[in-house]
């Protein structure tokens, strides 16, 4: 009985470990009145970040040398995260818009 249970637990653990790499998450960030919300998010390599721009003007999510995503007015744009690290990003058109993306392996 005990033996059977532990075997089940081991199988369960293996499944849990396999899930994160197989199923990437989509993390949504809203831009409203020149503010990224949430301003700080945590993601894993392979996840998709989706910015939804509710403003009438275009914005970007730009981390110099890392990524540069243009988000047209009233549209969404996505980025698939490929590298771990902490990325402070801004809007190229409005440098007062600031946010942070933390990516784990």
């Amino acid at each position: 009985m005990i033996h059977k249970l532990s075997l089940g637990a081991v199988c369960g653990l293996a499944v849990m470990l396999a899930v994160p790499s197989a199923q990437a998450e989509t993390i949504r960030i809203t831009i409203d009145k020149l503010v990224f919300s949430p301003a700080e998010i945590s993601a894993a390599v392979g996840d998709v970040i989706e910015w939804q721009n509710n403003d009438v003007m275009a914005h970007t999510a730009t981390a110099k040398g890392e990524f540069d995503v243009v988000i047209p007015p009233k549209k969404t744009a996505t980025l698939t995260v490929s590298k771990a690290g902490t990325f402070d990003y801004t809007c190229r058109f409005h440098p007062n818009m600031k946010a942070r993306l933390q990516v784990r392996q």
Partner: protein
């Protein structure tokens, strides 16, 4: 009313201190007119830059200004229509326009790097001036909540443009 505005060109660098003093009383129809005028002035400045400048960064910046201010002014027109407010010309709008016309005439005599530097320097100064007016006069005076909201977004936008212009200015040095 706005057709008349678009025929006046250029952008402001100097707004007389008395015009924008904190004790000046402005009504919502006047505030709407001032905010719209401030946008039109920067659109005309951008159009002038696009005609004269050959610099990639300056052209790109001018296009950003044109796009943003046209978008916000369209939103402003939709709002005044919805609120049934008729924007009303006033001393502040006139002072802004007068300063802008003079500045544009000054800039029209320049070319090359001289123009680029003067245009960007004035964009920094102009946005700074409008931010001051929004913070000290227009936002506190606005009665209608939706108008106040649009002005607050406008302030964030103008602050963003000021920083953007400062970046471009720093790159030119």
């Amino acid at each position: 009313m706005f057709a008349r505005l678009t025929s006046a060109f250029a952008f402001a660098c100097l707004i007389s201190g008395t015009t924008l003093a904190a004790d000046t009383k402005v009504t919502d129809p006047q505030i709407a007119h001032i905010a719209y005028t401030a946008g039109v002035i920067d659109i005309e400045a951008a159009k002038q830059a696009l005609k004269i400048s050959k610099d990639k960064e300056v052209i790109s910046f001018a296009n950003d200004m044109l796009r943003d201010h046209e978008a916000v002014n369209t939103q402003a027109l939709d709002l005044v229509k919805k609120l049934k407010v008729t924007p009303e010309d006033n001393d502040t709008s006139r002072a802004l326009m007068k300063a802008a016309t003079e500045e544009r005439e000054k800039l029209s005599k320049l070319s090359g790097a001289d123009f680029d530097k003067a245009y960007v320097a004035n964009e920094v100064a102009y946005h700074k001036q409008v931010n001051g007016a929004l913070e000290s006069l227009l936002i506190p005076s606005a009665k209608n909540a939706e108008l106040k909201d649009l002005l607050e977004t406008g302030l964030k936008l103008f602050q963003g443009h000021q920083q953007h212009a400062e970046h471009v200015a720093a790159m030119m040095k």
